[in-house]
């Protein structure tokens, strides 16, 4: 009974939540582990969820909590960021898999660039940027998820965008062809 309920609630949101877990972990394999751990915890605590309509933010909140616990535990991860390289190497582009619709080497390169840029952000800004820019969440939804004010979320988004911009500008200095303009 509980498993059926969980299955029904999870199916519409699992794709976004899995992508979010991968982005906040900065590594596909770490993200998959994080997502599995969050699912197990969510399944165990499902009885405490009173309103099924709140399942999505509830699940994302668990993903964030598990991620922060794991980050605190794995002290060495702060210094050895193997995840970025692993993540970057494990893309359709790297595998030469261009059969997927909407996909091309240019799109793969764009996605890889965005992933590396996101990896430079602090966790709270990365969470905000991923949910707002990629998952399409609204500011007030983000504020409710994190338990902070809307202005705090806007501030995080602004700081995150500024960091992304700085990353891209630095890359543009080193690689003028990036934007198609002379530096």
């Amino acid at each position: 009974m509980g498993n059926e309920r969980f299955r029904g609630l999870l199916e519409p949101v699992y794709a976004g939540a899995l992508g979010f877990a991968r982005h906040v972990s900065r590594s596909r394999s770490d993200g998959d582990d994080l997502f599995q751990e969050a699912l197990i915890r969510a399944l165990a605590k499902l009885d405490s969820l009173r309103d099924d309509a709140a399942f999505k933010p509830w699940l994302y909140r668990i993903v964030i909590t598990v991620h922060r616990n794991r980050s605190r535990t794995a002290f060495w991860r702060r210094f050895l960021q193997l995840g970025d390289r692993e993540h970057a190497a494990d893309t359709p582009h790297a595998r030469g898999d261009y059969r997927v619709a909407e996909w091309s080497p240019d799109a793969a390169e764009s996605a890889r660039r965005a992933r590396l840029a996101l990896a430079t952000l602090p966790a709270v800004q990365r969470e905000a940027i991923v949910l707002f820019e990629i998952e399409g969440w609204q500011v007030d939804e983000l504020a409710a998820l994190h338990g902070v004010s809307s202005s705090a979320i806007k501030s995080r988004l602004a700081r995150g965008r500024a960091r992304l911009r700085a990353y891209y500008e630095a890359r543009h200095q080193a690689e003028p062809a990036l934007t198609g303009e002379p530096s």
């Binding site: 794709a15 899995l18 893309t91 359709p92």
Partner: protein, 342 residues
């Protein structure tokens, strides 16, 4: 230009995310195989409760059967040994993931054991200090405290009450849905601290079976109780209690207060802990705390065994109790950390 490039790249990343999502069934946690033997499931639920009960009761029984003088004087040391062994075993196997416990059961158990201890303590106190029964022998009728129910204060009785309380708490916890996760560790410590204190204050003189405890007076063997009803009541005779508690009982009470104070600090720290980890809890979670406290408890226990004076033995036993509770608290907090990560 940079901003549009960022937007394009993020859009490409969103598309890549959608393309790389595995099938829904692949991400679901796989259900466990169906339990073929229902007895296994029953054992899996009962064993975590039954094992400590069996360990404590068997440990206390074996030590009492060995007729060791120290354990007759201070039966709480048997419980201390069991706690020290459990804490050490957890410390040795410390990296395993822990299954979340049932904080509601722990809180209910703490309330029930505290209530039971208070009720039986007051009942015995009342019988020994606030009742006077008429006896008669060859010399005629005389009056003394009604001491015909000493069984309430034996360690065996305490162990049985404790076991019943744990089982009742487990059953009640399955029907109660209250979020008391923050109180779980403190409740577990309170339950064990009350158990230790209850056993400790009961012991008196050289007899642990007839541990009526608070009154040196015993009717002569050939005296018969004339009537069972209370003849004269002397309620709240405080100076009388002060005189008749032995020094080892005072030490046991002081140790009990220290243990409950320790539990209170953990409760406050757990309740106040929000975004940042409490420094007190972080300190107690340190891997060195449990082994160090176990060493102190063991040293106090061995030292207690070496003494001949029951009062000195009682004091060393009190130190052993406090050290064992600190070891137990450290073990529980480390276990709580593993539960959070499991």
């Amino acid at each position: 230009m940079i901003d549009s490039l960022i937007s394009t790249d993020l859009a490409a990343l969103a598309i890549e995310d959608r393309q790389r999502v595995p099938a829904f069934d692949a991400v679901l946690p796989q259900p466990r195989d169906k339990v073929r033997w229902p007895i296994k499931r029953w054992l899996a639920q009962a064993a975590p409760v039954a094992a400590p009960i069996v360990a404590v009761v068997a440990g206390a029984g074996v030590l009492a059967a060995l007729d060791i003088h120290t354990f007759q004087e201070s039966p709480q040391l048997a419980v201390v040994i069991v706690i020290a062994i459990v804490a050490m075993l957890h410390a040795l196997g410390g990296r395993a993931r822990a299954k979340p416990g049932k904080p509601v059961a722990d809180v209910i158990a703490a309330v029930l054991i505290t209530g039971s201890a208070a009720v039986f303590f007051l009942a015995v106190w009342h019988r020994h200090h606030a009742t006077t029964c008429p006896f008669f022998d060859e010399g005629g009728v005389f009056f003394g405290p009604c001491t015909d129910h000493d069984a309430f204060t034996s360690p065996g009785f305490v162990a049985i009450v404790w076991a019943i309380v744990l089982i009742v708490a487990r059953v009640l916890a399955s029907r109660v849905r209250v979020d008391v996760a923050r109180w779980g560790v403190a409740a577990k410590i309170v339950a064990v601290a009350v158990l230790l204190t209850w056993v400790s204050v009961n012991q008196f003189d050289d007899s642990w079976i007839g541990v009526a405890g608070f009154h040196a007076y015993k009717p002569p063997p050939n005296a018969a109780l004339l009537t069972l009803h209370r003849a004269m009541a002397r309620m709240f005779d405080w100076p009388h209690i002060g005189v008749e508690l032995s020094p080892s009982q005072w030490d046991a009470l002081a140790a009990g207060l220290a243990m409950l104070g320790f539990a209170a600090t953990i409760a406050v720290a757990c309740v106040r802990e929000r975004a940042r980890a409490s420094r007190w809890l972080t300190f107690l979670e340190h891997p060195a705390v449990t082994p160090l406290a176990v060493v102190v408890a063991t040293a106090a226990l061995v030292y207690a065994s070496a003494g001949d004076d029951p009062d000195i033995t009682g004091r060393r036993a009190a130190i052993a109790c406090v050290a064992a509770i600190i070891a137990y608290g450290g073990m529980l907090l480390r276990r709580r950390r593993r539960e959070a990560l499991s």
